[in-house]
Amino acid sequence: MEEKKLAIIATKGSLDWAYPPFILASTAAALGYQVQVFFTFYGLQLLKKKLSLEVTPLGNPGMPMPMGMDKWFPVLGMALPGMQAMMTAMMKDKMKKKGVASVEELRELCQEAEVKLIACQMTVDLFDMDTSAFIEGIEYGGAATFFEFAGESDICLYI
């Protein structure tokens, strides 16, 4: 049986949006897929050795708020200093309690399963990113690199 292929483009750098690419990539690898994830723009944050991902309630009406907080702190209240840090801490706490893996853990599982992680070279140059801040074992490439694999993929996702 020919190996199926999954190609993902990860464009977001927040705690909540870090999950879909790593969950799908690790699971697909466990199912026998060959997987590549191309990280571009804010998605590059997901490749940092030391992750400092946050989640924001700002401009996010779909975020479930504990204790009816959305009623006490409507839209502008979400812009209060410390609100983002607080929501991030609460989200991390909730994930831990519910047995949801940390982003670091899922990322490690992806690397163990030989998921290829590719950092967008253009983004690295654009934001003058320090490549020594990124984890080991990643590759650097551009759009053509992505298409080499994506063009033969069975599933291609933009996240």
Binding site: I23, S26, T27, A30, L31, G32, K98, G99, V100, A101, L109
Partner: protein, 76 residues
């Protein structure tokens, strides 16, 4: 419950960890050996069925007992 060669307790873990741990443990077994997985994630029932179908490993048993889900998977 039928016999098994190895047990994996994935209680308290959420998607996709039970599947990932199972895959890893299966890799250490030989063909024909049976892995017993215990999970509490309700989503794991459908997930292990899908995992077996896609990987060719056989799901011999899937049942709920005392609020936990038990799976027997035979390595292909």
């Amino acid at each position: 419950m039928s016999a098994f060669d190895q047990e994996l307790d994935a209680s308290g873990l959420n998607c996709p960890l039970p599947i990932l741990r199972a895959k890893k443990t299966l890799a250490s077994l030989s063909s024909g050996q049976v892995l017993h997985i215990i999970a509490t994630d309700p989503g794991s029932v459908k997930d292990f069925d899908a995992f077996a179908k896609q990987t060719g490993n056989e799901l011999i048993e899937s049942r709920e007992e005392g609020g936990k889900f038990h799976f027997l998977i035979k390595k292909a």
